[in-house]
């Protein structure tokens, strides 16, 4: 989900809440603003949700940073012919993006049970592999003329290509972090939710879900969307742009 979509959904939810307070009659489905403020107080006293939200955001960013670093090192170690413009890797790259997050989360739980650290490692490796495929796809889309020009400046064509890969992928760090932050958020939360991890924000969502209290569910989701929105905005703001084919 893009940050724009998240902002639109948050705005719709806010409109519904305001409407529920003043326009829509009292009902069991739409919480009023007063109920929401009570929900915030309850959630704070029972779960300390703000701390957990920050902790989970930190975990997501740590996964992203570690995975990106790992992916960049991996790409630099890969043979150069992987970046040539043939179709050998295209299907694998596509498959990597097609595995639903829920299935990935279920597999992590099945293999590692409630081991939080193992989950963190697996999510990091999984994200790193997705970034590697993403980078290969991107590097293969760069125009050949970059390799042609820069290889004539260097003594060794292979050395020039390695250097060019570094120069092309480093400025795209923010792009990669942004492109993958939503999938990391979703996998982390689904795994935490299924593990009933009380140290994570997933535990807060689980608490609200178990009570099935509408204001609590609303509040927990709203705070989550706000932090995802701002995380995305921050990562997008760091972006400096990547090279694309020139339009003639």
């Amino acid at each position: 989900m893009s940050t724009k979509k998240t902002a639109v959904i948050s705005l719709i939810l806010l409109t519904i809440v305001i409407a529920a307070e003043f326009v829509i009659p009292t009902n069991p489905y739409l919480p009023t603003a007063t109920e929401l403020s009570e929900g915030v107080k309850l959630l704070h006293s029972e779960t300390g949700f703000l701390f957990k939200l920050i902790a989970t955001a930190g975990e997501v960013l740590a996964v992203l940073l570690l995975a990106t670093g790992l992916a960049f090192v991996t790409v630099l170690l890969l043979p150069l012919k992987l970046f040539s413009q043939n179709d050998a890797l295209r299907s694998h790259g596509f498959a990597g993006y097609m595995v639903p997050h829920f299935i990935i989360a279920l597999l992590i739980i099945t293999w590692f049970g409630n081991d939080g650290f193992a989950g963190f490692v697996v999510i990091t490796l999984l994200t790193a592999s997705q970034i590697v495929l993403f980078l290969i796809k991107r590097l293969r889309s760069y125009p050949m003329r970059y390799i042609e020009f820069f290889s004539t400046l260097s003594d060794s064509s292979e050395k020039a290509q390695k250097k060019l890969i570094q120069k092309l992928i480093l400025p795209s760090i923010a792009e990669d972090l942004y492109a993958h932050h939503l999938s990391v958020w979703s996998i982390t939360l689904i795994v935490g939710f299924l593990q009933n991890n009380n140290d994570s924000y997933a535990g807060v969502l689980r608490y609200a879900y178990d009570l099935w209290d509408t204001p609590l569910v609303f509040v927990s989701v709203m705070f989550l969307m706000v932090i995802i929105y701002f995380t995305g905005l921050g990562l997008k703001g760091l972006s400096v742009g990547v090279i694309t084919e020139d339009v003639q």
Binding site: R145, E148, F149, F150, S151, L153, D155, G241, V242
Partner: protein, 189 residues
């Protein structure tokens, strides 16, 4: 300065199963005439103009024959028909990036850099990020950076065809100045 292609044969891989023959026993002897700033190789379209330059630059290897470059040419740089600068970097950073491929630092060629920036009308634009669609501007960066990197011979692959007439004229004027001042040999197809 002289570049010789001796009985070159070269085929281009057109698809997984097909190869397109570009040159068969092709020979060419190009000498620099100092009366002219650019040596122009005239070939009809689709007759392997880019392949010819790439063979001369060593980007592609012939299946048979050899390319002989005279000893006074230490570095040949190929400038493709579309610019290859980094759109996330400023003019100065782009030049630094290009120099790094020749294992050089901007500080090593600081004085020459200032002169070249001045000559090429890039003065005042050092901290400016080139517009991706400003081909003339980007070609100027590539050409002066190539000279700073020590290129004695610069191969221009049909670069003027993507420029409007005034920009092409300005770039040709710049090339004339550079050819005179730095004794750089420009070969264009």
């Amino acid at each position: 300065m002289n570049i010789q292609l001796k009985k070159i044969s070269y085929s281009l891989t057109a698809s997984h199963f097909k190869e397109k023959l570009i040159f068969r026993d092709f020979s060419l002897d190009i000498n620099r005439d100092t009366n002219f700033s650019i040596t122009k190789v005239l070939l009809p379209n689709n007759y392997g103009k880019s392949s010819l330059l790439k063979l001369m630059a060593g980007i592609i290897k012939p299946s048979s024959g050899e390319v002989v470059v005279s000893s006074d040419i230490k570095k040949i740089v190929y400038i493709p028909s579309l610019p290859a600068t980094f759109n996330f970097a400023t003019v100065e950073q782009n030049i630094e990036h290009i120099l790094s491929f020749a294992e050089l630092k901007l500080a090593d060629v600081k004085d020459e850099y200032k002169t070249l920036v001045e000559i090429s009308d890039l003065s005042g634009y050092e901290d400016h990020r080139p517009d991706p669609l400003s081909f003339g501007f980007r070609f100027r960066i590539m050409i002066i950076a190539s000279i700073l990197a020590g290129a004695q011979c610069i191969l221009l692959d049909d670069i003027f065809s993507h420029l409007d007439s005034p920009t092409a004229s300005e770039l040709k004027e710049l090339i004339e100045i550079l050819a005179q001042k730095y004794s750089t040999w420009f070969i264009e197809v």
